[in-house]
């Protein structure tokens, strides 16, 4: 670690954990896949709850990584090792990296709390294209999508935007070849393994299959928690009747 070349540990179940440096105060922990990243993230939160990660400012999950940022300096960091040998005292970051590699992760216990239910209308402009990619009729898309148990793998792109996993691989779809310059707030969208709901109007290249009935619920900085869809949150989409839901004024673009 002291040369900044990271460390690797072969886990008991044959999966690899790599700890990569991300500057003097951060570590990027890379797991074998999204599920292991989820388990590692859950363990980090448990330990932080117990006060075992003092000073770590941010714990940011990614698709198959967890970033630990804002690791404070140790008071002896980098001075000559008082025990002799001419070496330097490892920094707080390097000590934490070594500790992370030694962790034995308990099997993932998915939290048992109820899923957040999000009413949506499946009437997006890419519904037909997604149906064709799935090899089903457009009228079958809502049932296939809404019976999926989703989970927020990580956030990014915009405050309150969660990357939701759960769709089986055969239902993964590519991004649109030409991104839209404007996607309305609340648009329910697919790309690769992910489902997401746009919290505010923005450009976007995902396939739009519907819209959330109440997009304002996604993000409210005055609320605790501000994001409806934080990392780890379970989500289910519920098909709402289109005639009872007003069409938003903003156009989806082409």
């Amino acid at each position: 670690m002291s040369r900044g070349d990271g460390g690797t540990n072969q886990g008991d179940d044959g999966t690899k954990v790599r700890v990569l440096p991300a500057g003097p105060h951060a570590l990027l922990v890379e797991l074998a896949d999204g599920q292991h990243a989820e388990a590692f993230h859950a363990e980090l939160l448990r330990r932080r709850e117990r006060g075992a990660l003092p000073g770590v400012r941010e714990i940011v999950p990614g698709a198959r990584t967890v970033l630990l940022d804002g690791i404070p300096d140790g008071i002896l960091d980098g001075i000559e090792d008082p025990r002799g040998g001419g070496g330097r005292v490892p920094t707080a970051r390097d000590r934490l990296a070594r500790e992370l590699l030694s962790w034995q992760l308990p099997p993932l216990h998915r939290e048992t709390h109820d899923a957040v239910e999000i009413p949506v209308v499946y009437d997006g402009p890419d519904l037909d294209e997604v149906a064709a990619l799935w090899g089903v009729g457009a009228d079958e898309v809502p049932a296939l999508h809404s019976r999926t148990a989703f989970r927020v793998a990580f956030c990014g792109f915009a405050p309150g935007f969660g990357y939701l996993t759960g769709l089986p691989e055969r239902l993964h779809v590519p991004r649109r070849t030409t991104p839209r310059t404007k996607v309305p707030a609340g648009a329910l969208a697919l790309a690769g393994p992910y489902t997401g709901v746009y919290p505010r109007p923005s450009p976007g290249g995902w396939q739009l299959i519907g819209r959330m009935v109440d997009p304002a619920a996604l993000w409210d900085p005055a609320r605790e928690p501000a994001a409806l869809l934080g990392p780890g949150t379970r989500v289910r989409f519920v098909a709402a009747e289109p005639e009872r839901v007003p069409v938003p004024l903003t156009e989806a673009g082409s």
Binding site: G4, P24, L28, V66, L67, G156, P159
Partner: protein, 292 residues
Amino acid sequence: MTSVREGKGILHVVRPGALTTVQDAGRPGWAHLGVGRAGVLDAPAARLANRLAGNRPGAALLETTVTGCAVRPDRTVVAVVGGAGCRVSVDGRPVAWGAPVRVPAGAVLDVGPAVSGVRGYLAFAGGLEPEPVLGSRSADLLSGLGPAPLREGDTLPLGEPAGEPPQCEGPAPWPGRPTELVLPLHLGPRHAWFTAAALRTLTTAAYRVSPHSNRIGLRTEGPALERARDGELPSEGMVLGAIQVPPDGLPVVFLNDHPTTGGYPVVGVVPETALAVAAQAVPGTRVRFVRA
């Protein structure tokens, strides 16, 4: 200096300049929800401006970009203009840069175009007090959180000064602006995605600050870095100071409004403490990356 403890007030925006935003120490701790840090780009300059105005170091102030701005307080206020060097005037009369000046109620404080550096800081005794969002008054240009960039005719609430500003004895130690930007670099986390030749190029070639730089990142012009492997990186967390390399191969150093996750490989990281000087480097400035 006569007493300026006149309570709260309002600041009127007379000339917003190219891009003037309210900033404070930012909102760390929310990256897991997709909320970036934001906050002042040149933290030492902002801290010094606040200190000279008698504020706590993290008080909200204005950050200007290249062209300065002009404001009119509705009560007498002590103000400090620091960061990028520029002419400063009150109702057309030149006043001191980098030191507390008294702006009478109704007078126009004009911060001229930068003659050195990029980002100017305007601190007001008592600080600015727009409504905080997630504990910070900083504008985040990527996520749209916090107060919007200033427009002509906007008003901003001024806070109440805590006390008299400290007596200023002699000039404050504002840093000069280097003609060459030397950025220390820690390799990783994704330097293995680049060829050995690319890593040599990164630490030996001369880059220049691109005019497309902004609060999200310091973009560079120079030799492209060649990838050792193709493909997309699954989205992962990004730190302040990360040197991200998009498909065009030109390094981008992430500044305070950077995205919290990204899918382009990060070849190395510039420590936070080295970013203040980067925020003041004008387009065209030579950039060298050196191993920390």
